[in-house]
Symmetry: C2
Subunit: 356 residues, 2 copies
């Protein structure tokens, strides 16, 4: 495997509404320094691939309205590598576009597809896993997905059932996928945990460009034809205009449903590198550094008294004092303030909309 063929596709078009007011439709969470470390989640995603993919082989898929934010946050990435969807069509059209676009410039590309808004605590382990997955895919037509070792019977994720007896001679850490499972109920999730061969689907995929393009041709011929039809414009000044006119035709469908669940040669690499999709404030609290009272305090000048199990995110406030809270979210951004019990955080989306 040559580093020069490694490509990364970062999916950065999401609209986070569960992290209001930190995350808004105009500035969703992937662009925010959620962890208070001085880098946004998108920037941290970029950083994780340093030494694996050259910046000119990093492609950001996003919405037109976020293009400027992406280019400002990732000046190392060539401006033309920021690929803009004119409208939202879920992940299958998006990954198809990126795949055909990359094939036009590098027909031997090996590609990692990764979300822009997840966190990884153990970056060296992440790099080790990704590197071996890229090596595996460069030498085979396998389609590979990362399976996160579950730490709790989470009902908010899809699961991947692995055939743990199937490891190849070539790589003892990679197994055939038996099935993809939708978000389970609690009882089923508990069963999955006990069985030890179920892993969280983190939405991180690795394959070579020939394999994914062929998979689209086989399982999504309409999508494949569309991106094949316009292959003359990739990398030219006409690309955006042609995409803008054709992309709306694409079916709104996820890559999991469109490809993964249909493909024969699906593999999973179980991994354990402190992953979280930061889907909820609770998961942010679980994943970030705590003080001795279980508080995660993110902001330059926050003082807490008699307070425990709270997440306080106020990176713009000059001064915050919190006294006497247990189990709350306190978040302030752009002159919007949220105070809400962590146990009620599923209501945040509704709150942010009702009070518009």
């Amino acid at each position: 495997m040559a580093l020069s063929n490694n490509h990364l596709v970062i999916m950065a078009g999401g609209v986070g509404s569960r992290f209001w007011p930190m995350s808004t439709e105009d500035y969703p969470k992937q662009f925010i320094d959620v962890l208070g470390v001085g880098r946004s989640l998108l920037q941290l995603t970029f950083d994780r691939f340093s030494g694996i993919c050259a910046p000119e082989h990093i492609w950001i898929l996003t919405n037109q309205k976020y293009a400027d934010i992406v280019r400002r946050q990732l000046p190392e990435v060539p401006a033309e590598n920021v690929l803009c969807e004119p409208c939202r069509r879920n992940t299958a059209p998006c990954i198809a576009y990126a795949s055909w676009r990359i094939k036009a410039s590098d027909p031997h590309a090996n590609i990692v597809v990764a979300p822009s808004d997840h966190i990884v605590m153990d970056v060296p382990e992440f790099k080790r896993v990704i590197t071996q997955c890229l090596a595996f895919c460069s030498e085979s037509d396998a389609m590979l997905t990362l399976g996160m070792k579950p730490t709790r019977p989470e009902t908010g994720y899809g699961y991947i059932q692995a055939d743990l007896g199937s490891s190849s001679v070539r790589n003892k850490e990679i197994f055939r996928v038996d099935s993809f499972r939708e978000k389970p109920d609690l009882e089923t999730a508990q069963q999955y945990i006990q069985n030890r061969n179920y892993f969280w689907n983190a939405g991180i995929f690795i394959w070579n460009v020939r394999t994914i393009v062929n998979a689209y041709r086989m399982y999504q011929p309409t999508l494949a034809k569309l991106f094949e039809d316009i292959s003359g414009v990739y990398g030219t000044p006409e690309e955006q205009a042609v995409l803008d006119s054709r992309y709306p035709e694409c079916e709104n469908i996820s890559v999991d449903y469109a490809i993964m669940e249909k493909a024969e040669e699906m593999f999973v690499c179980p991994a354990d590198f402190g992953w979280s999709d930061l889907g909820t404030w609770g998961s942010l609290l679980a994943q970030t550094k705590h003080d001795m009272h279980g508080n995660s305090v993110i902001g330059p000048n926050i003082s807490v008294f008699d307070t425990k199990n709270c997440i306080i995110h106020a990176t713009e406030e000059k001064k915050v004092v919190v006294q006497g809270l247990d189990g709350y979210i306190v978040a302030e951004k752009d002159n919007a303030l949220l105070i809400c019990k962590l146990s009620e955080e599923q209501k945040i989306k509704q709150y942010s909309e009702e009070t518009k």
Copy 2:
């Protein structure tokens, strides 16, 4: 009594630290729209005297650093009526200065001295009481103080013991003062309430200018001599410079201690017009309009869910959502945020200082 001799002295030099972050040393609570009605406490104080004192007979005693705020908030009051102390010396020097200054322009003045940061809910009743007190003082050498009918055994106020058998033929609502009492302990306060002849000292005084000047001459001859000595400069361009040089000599002493507790001819007018000195967030909650769950919500765009007995003050925030709080203060101003149990509000001053 002629309206033309009525004067009002508003004491507006206070530094509110218990209402942080709403109130700060740079912008204390008398200048803030605490009630969310579009007028600051100072402006509401001014408004209450409409029809009683002409604007050119309204005098504001404040610190040099607040002079611009006062003039901006009260454009109806002549700029030269804003009297600036060069340093803080408590209320006795301050009222002495105002008295000599007013005497220089109107030797027949009848004067009300009032704090700038209190609230009054029943303004017509307030006007009725003040008007009769001014009439009483214009015709006698009495020194009059308002006594608020206590609604609870408050230990945070001084009390006035009235001789309820002493009402004069001239006015059935005005009584001699038996004694002024310092802030009592709870048991004593409860006794006061039962006795029915004890009233809260609200710091509102009424007298004619000859009486108060004579009282200073008798009980505070040093202060009296100082303001007598400089009487040639009142109303001239030299006034501020001379005051700046002499005022620091004044003893730091309250008018209660310097005059009231010594004077023979002290009277009290018991009154009941929904008064509060807004000394604490709790008193603000007690005095302001509640929703059906006991919340006082002050700000343009605040939504509360599952929340009761809270005071939420965020007049600058674009949007606030509060869920699941009971008995808290939430206050945001100038990018400072406080969340604190109402029961712990005595710690606010310390919090605001510790975290500077």
